[in-house]
């Protein structure tokens, strides 16, 4: 006999981790996107006067 653990209710119980996890990934990625935009804008602006020389 195969000894199987099977608890469908666990799916519902763990949905909170799905919510926390996906929210966490989106939040961190959003911060990285903003930081990348800012870095690119600042470094491009700083580089421009130098390019004109």
């Amino acid at each position: 006999m195969l000894d199987f653990y099977f608890e469908p209710y666990e799916f519902v119980k763990n949905l909170k981790y799905m919510g926390i996890g996906m929210l966490g990934v989106f939040m961190i990625v959003a911060v990285i996107i903003i930081a990348t935009y800012l870095t690119n804008n600042i470094t491009n602006k700083l580089a421009k006067p130098h390019d004109d020389d």
């Binding site: 966490g24 990934v25 961190i28 990625v29 911060v31 870095t39 470094t43």
Partner: protein, 373 residues
């Protein structure tokens, strides 16, 4: 005569123990070697894993000792996968992503399969260390899977690693039907103009440092994972360490890959591997990859409901990390629908963002579950 007969001790022991399971493991090892050589499926890893699987499965196998030493030296302490991450970081060009950073959001969406699989796996596995580790197969990233499973102390590290690498190799087979099922022909034909914005050298250098800082602030457990990946990328982009970058991309990555593959096989003894749970893990891994793909594509469709400039929802599927296959598949599917539809730069950008997002997802899983240990 006695000495002569002693040569057959191994054979007698084999018959006595009735180790048919070991023969099954040879077949599994042989199949992995066949897939690596004949089908070119992740040969750098599946071949060493397959061979290691064979040499581990003999009564009193002498390979167990050295492989255990390697395991303790490189996998039990997560060293091999982390060093491999330096090589992977050095291989990745974040240029297409940096010229359009908002595409990174699709990489995040494609991590849905990880958390969906976490819930699914909890139905079949009572221990959170196991179901949280199985979920990370959906990261489509071998080193992350190994590190998370090892840190959480799952008893299924071998099966999880084999599933992760096998499905990464099967991405060209798994993804296209899912993408087709979820998109219309018109959606697949959506063209995306490529207007690269200038990316300064300073941004390319600062990007890996910023990612490391942000990731470590929110998920300190990601320090090693994201840090090693970004260290590799910094070596690549700094412009003064070309020879180190080349070494990391080739020699270092190859060397670690050899040891990583064969050492993983230490966990592939018949006793540990041949169980219904392994089959379940393989099934759950497949679900993870399918749901990852679906998550990315559906997010692309939702994005189009609100966006002025429509995107091709197929690029969402490239967020599955498996680099660079996922990006190429989307590009090829776009060309198939419309020979003038070039999606490569967009899909590559989403693909590399998937690499970052999958590591972040792994770190979040560690952050959630490590306190429960």
């Amino acid at each position: 005569m006695k000495e002569l007969l002693s040569l057959f001790d191994g054979l007698l022991a084999f018959g006595k123990d009735g180790n048919w399971k070991m023969i099954v493991m040879w077949i599994i090892g042989g199949t992995l070697i066949y897939l690596a050589i004949k089908k070119d499926m992740e040969p750098t890893l599946l071949l060493p894993i397959g061979f290691g699987c064979i040499i581990m499965n003999f009564p009193g196998s002498g390979a167990a000792g050295p492989l255990q030493t390697l395991y303790n030296a490189g996998i039990a302490n997560e060293l091999f996968p982390l060093i491999l991450f330096i090589g992977i970081g050095a291989m990745i060009d974040f240029g297409p992503l940096l010229s359009n950073p908002k595409l990174m959001i699709f990489g995040a969406a494609a991590q849905f399969g990880i958390f969906f699989t976490l819930c699914m796996a909890s139905i079949f596995f009572p221990d959170f260390r196991d179901y949280a580790s199985i979920a990370i197969i959906g990261a489509a990233d071998g080193p992350t899977s190994i590190v998370v499973a090892q840190k959480l102390g799952s008893q299924y590290v071998g099966a999880i690693t084999v599933a992760a690498y096998s499905y990464m190799a099967l991405v060209p087979i798994i993804q296209p039907p899912v993408i087709k099922l979820l998109t219309t022909e018109n959606e697949r034909k959506i063209r995306m103009a490529y207007r690269p914005k200038s990316v300064s050298k300073a941004t390319k250098i600062l990007f890996p440092i910023i990612i490391t800082i942000v990731a470590c602030i929110f998920a300190p457990d990601a320090g090693a994972l994201i840090g090693f990946l970004m260290f590799g990328n910094l070596i690549r982009e700094c412009g003064v360490l070309d020879s180190l970058s080349e070494t990391a991309q080739k020699v270092l990555a190859n060397l670690i890959t050899i040891f990583l593959g064969i050492t993983i096989a230490f966990n592939m003894t018949a006793q540990q591997f041949l169980s219904p749970q392994t089959l379940l893990i393989m099934g759950l891994g497949l679900i993870a990859f399918i749901v990852d793909t679906a998550g990315g594509v559906l997010f692309g469709k939702i994005y189009n409901l609100f966006a002025k400039e429509k995107i091709n929802p197929m690029i969402g599927a490239a967020g599955i990390s498996a680099f660079p296959m996922a990006g190429r598949i989307v590009h090829k599917m776009g060309l198939k629908e419309d020979p003038q539809n070039f999606l490569l730069m967009h899909s590559t950008a989403v693909n590399v963002s998937g690499q970052i997002a999958s590591v972040i997802a792994g770190a979040l899983i560690l952050k959630i579950f490590i306190p429960m240990l």
